[in-house]
Amino acid sequence: MINVKDILALYRKMVLVRAFEEKASMLYAQGHVLGFCHLYIGQEAVATGIFHNLSSNDSSITSYRDHAHMLILGVHPNVVMAELCGKVTGSSKGKGGSMHMYSKEHNFYGGNGIVGAQVALGTGLAFAHKYKNDGGISFTFFGDGAANQGQVYESFNMASLWKLPIVYVLENNGYAMGTSTKRAASGKGLATRGDSFEIPTILVDGMNLFDVLEKSKEAISYVRCGNGPIIMHVDTYRYRGHSMSDPATYRTREEVNAVKENRDPILKVKNILINEYSILLDDIVKVDNEIGDIIEQAAKFAIESKFPEESELEMDVTI
């Protein structure tokens, strides 16, 4: 059973992600962050819940929507924000930007800009766990858009054939850029896509932290027992557009507002903390304020950091 201390810590992580993303959005508007910038707002419970059950040998990989994964794994917000701003103090010395963040220390392999590529790469991470027999699992995140890429099924096929230790996390937020899953996915829905490979699928409410925690524990225990891959089909929602340049006109304001009001993952945990664990609103506000300060400092750090020098240009092409 999860205790109140853990719930508070997870609440703090989700608030950290949201506050970070909101600040990133502001820095984007001010011209400090350039190019592509894909926000995780609305989906916070997914990575937060899954990473709670991570072991130190495990590895993970995701798409270009990767800031949250870095923060939840424990990379300092200063470093993530500095990377967004293209500064030498960033996680990739400013060479990767929003979409290409990595943490070797946490076995986090990015940060991949080619939709679906991370699924084959993540399957390779699982292959390495099995080859080294290190007991680790690969957590491979991908969206509903990636779920229509051919290499996803090539990967499913080999992962199932070779019984690779991998949890595929299909974050279905309903829209691949502006194309709804209804217009993009044939058949009985993405949750059935593992069926022909005999990969079991667990249905998860990605807006409910407690459901993510429980189901990911179940998935992990299945994979750690040597059963091979499993898919978590996570029903979630992104509040913002696909990226900063997307006004999201393909869905109604009512649809977005209904999710914010009824399914918000942070609000849900907040209410449970207050109503079921008798945590005082003041204590929650204290957490929110602390995070606010951390984010302000991250933004200050990023803005004040230096851009990479010319000497960096041709470094890191080959070893």
Partner: protein, 327 residues
Amino acid sequence: MNDITVRTALRDAMAEEMRANPNVFLLGEEVASYNGAYKISQGLLEEFGATRVIDTPITEHGFTGIGVGAAMAGLRPIIEFMTFNFAMQAIDHIVNSAAKTLYMSGGKINCPIVFRGANGIPGSVAAQHSHCFASWYAHCPGLKVVAPYSALEAKGLLKLAIRDDNPVVFLEHEMLYGKRFEIQTSPTELVALDKAVILRSGTDITITSFSISVQYALDAADVLYDKYGISAEVINLITLRPIDKETIIESVKKTGRILNVEEGWMSCGIGSEITALVIENAFDYLDCEPMRLSSAEVPVPYSKSLECLAQANSEKVVILSRSMLQK
């Protein structure tokens, strides 16, 4: 000194490196039970077992991505493409995933992987199975690109490629697999992943080439000397990225003429790169314009009569070289 085929040299290179490092493994279609579509992995399954010599389904995009992911996690995969034509399905992982991640991660995540297999025109298999991809890969920062000719190069360079901490594209040639060469006992000391070799010294013209085209250049050099008194210097480029500028430029300064021979198409080919390098670095030494001998700019035809017309060969090297010397 030993006399072995390129096929055996490649097999021995993999076996020796697999014995030396348990993280080295071979992944690809038909590499295990079938002993390789071209029998390059003969006996490896028997020696190393199915955990290190792994048959995949026909699924290049997927298994290449798996190899790259495993390399990022610290293993040293050798990915065999039955031919590089099929690597087109996987080029996204070779370029976007393997070649760029070191840079995108600010030097944190490297990818020690070898992509190897048959490349070029093996003869009579038509357009989709007859294609040299050297210039495609040589274009990309983050990759090393190697195309050996002899058994010694094949063995030494493959061993170095497996030990290298970067992704290496290793272009073999089906028509060379069965060719015998003398080979020294320590080939890794005689080759490097950034050095061309001068196979024959000469004073009148430099002929650069790689892979099977080296044979055309060497054969032509014999004819040029014996019949026409032309002294050709033959350079085997070996590595196409990084390309050994110094050896090429020094040779041209001596001969004043350069001809590149390759199986790829002329447009944006390796010959185009060499021409540009020579013009930029040795313009004043040139006695005539640099020339390129490549395949005709058509999808390679099946019919033997047309295929011969489309391909480079030693006769064409002789004709072009003579025209450059007006002899």
